[in-house]
Amino acid sequence: MNAPSITASAQTEAVTKTFDLSAALKDAFRSALITFGLSIPILSFRTEQSGADLFLSSRWGLALIVTAIVFGLRLLIHAFTASRAYRKAIPSPRQATELVHAQPSAFQHVSRFAIPFFLGVAIAFPVLIYLIQGGLNESRYWIDLGILILTYVMLGWGLNIVVGLAGLLDLGYVAFYAVGAYSYALLSTTFGLSFWICLPLAGILAAFWGMILGFPVLRLRGDYLAIVTLAFGEIIRLVLINWVDVTNGAAGISSIPRATFFGIPFTASEDGFAATFGLEFNGMHRMIFLYYLILALALLTNFVTMRLRKLPVGRAWEALREDEIACRSLGINTTNTKLTAFAIGAMFGGFAGSFFAVRQGFVSPESFNFLESAIILAIVVMGGMGSQIGVAIAAIVLVGGPEVLRNLTFLKAVFGEGFDPNEYRLLLFGLGMVAMMVWRPRGLISEREPSVILKERKAISGSLVKEGHG
């Protein structure tokens, strides 16, 4: 492998932030060319037998795809090594002997561009899809996928409060999701309450169950806590299956009323959403509304978490994660701190659950099995415990990834016609996890962002360094 000049220059000269794009492109192009050359005898032709005759059929498309992949990967490797060289050349914030106030952390690097970008994409997503797909009905699949991903982003953010901030390993988070979903399902079908009344009620009920779980596990940590929360999740599921009188058992609750646009139903009738706004009736209106609803709920979760982090209770959560004994000797009531973490985390799980119920129109205990908890936890762990943007990225990768794989038809050309990526979902999950453990053991974004950023003090410390105090 001809080493790119980037790494060499990194150690000798002053490293520039932007890596040498033209060199990288050249190298990637060279690799692509070699790949293409190699693929001519290996991939481009295929022998097909028809009776006694042997035909040669060409597969240039496949060869081109493989070449493109090699090109892209090569470019990525360059970008990666360049950024690593840059990081090595610049003292890291972990290095104690150097003063590093002015050096923005990895988080700040990412967040400066990533947050507005992701937010913009999330808000414009239905419009973009509409334009790309050229019609409401055609974009149904993508909007559905968007809703699914955002639900997991929200669940990830909710669990992040418990696991990421307070450091309480919770393997039964799906229990609160279930409580939220069943709260809405039961309240709306039994009492005919509307979604907008049930949503806060579901949150409150889930928070209440969060506290109920919190009490017995107050004294537990780590593995033991994980086991008890795992059991709690299963108990909730088993109760839902067996308490047939109330929950209708394994058959679940169906025909749950749908959400209305602040009282205006999404129906084709006179007073429906389409008629009110002078649009032609389309079922997709409801989907797009649901998309924005879950986006709003997820952003609410994020906003509340970010605010709480800056308040004493949020800082107490983080301190609790770091050192419980020190916390207590600083006068923090660890009991209350843990219970609030469980309750607030559960509340957002409950919101997401009632959204799930209103979206599906049907809930059954099978939707709330351990695998769901595992996926949500995997999102939080992969994202980097406590990092909001990391969790969002992990949710997109873990939930959207398998769907994208499903759409890559050329995989069928490689692995055969019967290949269904969804069957390999868990395998890919596992591979992803192993890769994470090797390369980023503390998650995608492991750097914790300080809750307070002192601006004016930089100058003070800077001047002290010059005096030789550093």
Binding site: Q95, R315, C327, R328, S329, L330, G331, V452, L464
Partner: protein, 255 residues
């Protein structure tokens, strides 16, 4: 510290109610007894040190005062209140602060956030003033306010642990081995800060130390602990000159 001052101090204390008093305290770890009935007093405005070998129970006594582990027998009173059965966080709210063994700073939080945690007891009432004060005491920390606690050197972490404890404006400061694993120069620095806190601010300090020479030189009074019992007590000077103490803890000359 002059000998006259210590004797004067002891005489002064004779008629007064101690700020912290430990009476017949027994602490167990499971079935193993760690403290076998300890009696000890700390008066207001004093520096009291507890010295002893490894595993004597010094840190256990310190933690027992904070209710973790809890004393199985005996009483601990602070400013006239029985705190024996009080939860740890409530004890901390009585303006007792602790810099525990092993520093126990919050490694992923910045120095500034660590100090905020220290100030959260009194609701950030005098946060800016207190921040200014600890920054004057520990200029090193001021330089590193925005740095993560875990990236500090051992000495800086110790300073941070003490600074964090000071943020709540405690009346009584409990310090567990502030000199552990530190370079002699930094030990000297930390001990001079303890002295300053006591003399200027009138802070009462209870100091658990292995570094017997420095601790006894600094303290008004000292206690010697051997396997869960207080075996000796006296002024710092008396203990420093005691042949038994010298043989057991000061062998090998002055550190």
């Amino acid at each position: 510290m002059t000998a006259g001052a210590s004797i004067q101090q002891t005489a002064l204390n004779a008629g007064r109610e101690p700020l912290l008093s430990v009476r017949g305290v027994k602490t167990y770890y499971g079935n193993i007894i760690a403290l076998k009935g300890v009696d000890m007093d700390v008066h207001e405005g004093e520096i009291v040190t507890l010295i002893g070998a490894n595993g004597a129970g010094k840190s256990t006594l310190m933690m027992t005062i904070f209710g973790n582990p809890r004393a199985r027998e005996g009483t601990i009173t602070y400013a006239g209140r029985d705190i024996t059965k009080m939860p740890t966080h409530e004890i901390a709210q009585l303006s007792i602060a602790q810099s525990p063994e092993g520093r126990r700073i919050f490694p992923r939080m910045t120095v500034f956030e660590n100090l905020q945690m220290g100030a959260s007891i009194n609701g950030f009432a005098h946060f800016d003033q207190d921040l200014e004060r600890v920054c004057t005491l520990f200029p090193r920390l001021k330089e590193r306010l925005q740095q993560r606690g875990g990236t500090l050197s051992g000495g800086e972490q110790q300073m941070l642990a003490i600074a964090r404890a000071l943020m709540s404006r405690p009346k009584l400061l409990l310090l567990d081995e502030p000199s552990l694993g530190l370079a002699p120069l930094i030990v000297k620095q930390i001990f001079s800060i303890i002295k300053e806190l006591n003399e200027k601010d009138g802070m009462t300090v209870f100091l658990v130390e292995q570094n017997a020479y420095h601790a006894l030189k600094l303290a008004h009074r000292g206690y010697v602990m051997v396997t869960g019992n207080i075996t000796m007590s006296g002024t710092g000077k008396e203990l420093l000159e005691d042949p038994q103490v010298r043989a057991a803890y000061l062998e090998g000359g002055h550190h």
